[in-house]
Amino acid sequence: YEDPPGLVDKTEYLIREWINIYTTHQGRDSTKSFSVFVHQMNLHGILKTDDLITRFFRLSTQICIDTCYRILCDKSTLNSTGGRSKCYHTLDAFVRLVALLVKHSGESSNTTTKVQLLNKVLGIVAGVLLQDHDNRLGEFHQMPYQRVFTMLFLELNAPEPVLEALNFHVLTAYCHTFHILRPAKAAGFCYAWLELISHRVFIGRMLATTPQQKCWPLYSQLLVDLFKYLAPFLRNAELAKPVTMLYKGTLRVLLVLLHDFPEFLCDNYYGFCDVIPPNCIQMRNLILSAFPRTMRLPDPFIPNLKVDMLPEITYAPRILTNIAATISPPQFKKDLDSYLKARAPVTFLSELRSNLQVSNEPGIRYNISLMNALVLYVGTQAIAYIKNKSHSPSMSTIAHSAHMDIFQNLTVDLDTEGRYLFFNAMANQLRYPNSHTHYFSCTFLYLFAEANTEVIQEQITRVLLERLIVNRPHPWGLLITFIELIKNPTYKFWQHQFVHCAPEIEKLFESVARSCF
């Protein structure tokens, strides 16, 4: 609705007034000036109703943003540090006002009013951003918004008791805002967005200092937002510069997570790999390479490594995604469970492919998420089944079960695209020593050994090889599986035609073999 007459001018006057106070440095740090200003706001009736407060913030935001656009669009100051610092001048003052209002709203011990005000302001800034983004399109500037979000976050994360009590709410509010502003919604803000969610203070608060990893699910959601946005662009083999920049930035962030928070990647690998395109091999390897810091990885290249003697392979990794719930439709899930229980009806196997195939168009024939979920679900059921019989996964205990029926059926019945996706879903489980890695490693080798056509062996090799020829890192489970495949004579690996189909391929195998031996 229209702003009440006079409100725009009042707001303009007040925000300019505050910026002046902020500039006289005593003002910046003195609560006296702040309380004087709040009194002025009161006098001007700004604090009378919630609606007026909302309008005040919206108008203030727009005034500050417009000021920045005027500076940024001024040819003489474009891209100069002078221009930017002028913008910071205005934006930082606005942020300081918001931070002080949040800190001092309501009773000092009452966090509710503070959090409500913060949510309101973040919502308003996000709203202004999205409107601006959709109006200006190619002329949209990220910087003002990034600066507001960053500086406000730094203000609200200062080590002050009143803020510490608020912190989890601040982080939650920020994650909600960043999810609303995710690149799929504001592509023109994607670089600032990635820098915001990977700011060192934000990462520190989200993943390190907040107790019981309470913010991990929130952060995981933001990364899924990023991967989902990147997916269609990464599916193109040839990356354009803007995509390369975002992709490279994403790799940097993932490297920090791999180094500092490997457990976070371990816990969320499934959800991440589910939205990363199959051809995005190095980034997926990076996620799959994470292993708990308490674990010492046995050297995969040691001759005669007895994987089945490792104590770690009896423990299942933590899976945060509810895999069973992602298997749909419900009838399919029901049929699957009954087949796993009774190994009947056989018709379930013959209908398997039709449940997975969603179109006939090459490249998008299959429901990849369902494929991934099916593979991991059947795999975990198989491990439980084997454990119930007081066994552990091995080449003999994984065979001749309903679970292996399903895997063998998929291997034989799917076309090359389906088989590629199926083997990819399996290869995504080859990580650090755990029961899943061990089970799927055995399953890969079993399917290779039992294959009735060379095409199957070739595609198993293709999926493993393409994950090995990419730059490091390489997941431990991938290495030990491939080493076993090429070393163990039972698989007659080097006798297959596809190993010698071209000099480059031959050379590739030899170099991988050399590095493995």
């Binding site: 910046r28 990635l194 820098e195 083999a237 040839e238 180094h259 070739e458 293709r462 730059n471 596809f498």
Partner: protein, 178 residues
């Protein structure tokens, strides 16, 4: 064999195409992740000094915010009272500190210029500051190089260390100018 892109031949075709078009490489063969400016062997956490997804190097010490007690934050009260910087009045220690911590900043070049005027020379290949030991006798001196014992500034131990150098004049930086 599999004839489409999902078999070994498909991989081969891709690899061949990638040889001619580096744009194709970044996803399939990936890149060397050790050159993205992150010290992956660091025993410390990376995130506290992470310079952001677009930065080729971590934050410098002075970039990282540390929350100090508010009473420490007195700069707004004394800023206008501080005397302006006069590099020619600072000791070499301070100059070296500025040079090594103000990476990519005007201060780095200003400190270098002041060190130059104090008879220090920057060896562009060794990336160290060198000065003659007073009273040093040349072992050799020609129009293009000289040999003898010099002090170089060792960043690790943060002091001057004597060492024999063969100094190619062409490897020494000329007077830095801002």
């Amino acid at each position: 064999m599999v004839s489409d892109q999902f078999g070994v031949v498909g991989l081969l075709a891709f690899l061949r195409a990638a040889e001619s078009d580096p744009n194709l490489v970044s996803l399939a063969l990936g890149q060397d992740l050790t050159v993205l400016g992150l010290n992956l062997n660091s025993p410390e956490n990376l995130y506290p000094s992470f310079g952001g997804p677009w930065a080729d190097h971590p934050c410098r010490p002075q970039d990282v915010d540390f929350h100090v007690p508010p009473e420490y934050i007195i700069n707004h009260a004394i800023r206008n009272k501080l005397s302006p910087m006069k590099l020619n009045q600072y000791k070499e220690d301070v100059l070296f500190f500025m040079f090594y911590t103000s990476v990519g900043d005007v201060l780095q070049v200003a400190a270098a210029a002041e060190l130059y005027s104090r008879e220090w020379r920057y060896h562009m290949e060794e990336k160290v500051w060198i000065t003659q030991v007073p009273g040093m006798v040349f072992l050799e001196k020609t129009a293009s190089y000289e040999r003898g014992t010099y002090y170089f500034f060792d960043v690790q131990s943060w002091r001057k260390v004597a060492k024999e150098f063969h100094l190619d004049y062409s490897k020494l930086e000329a007077r830095p100018n801002l």
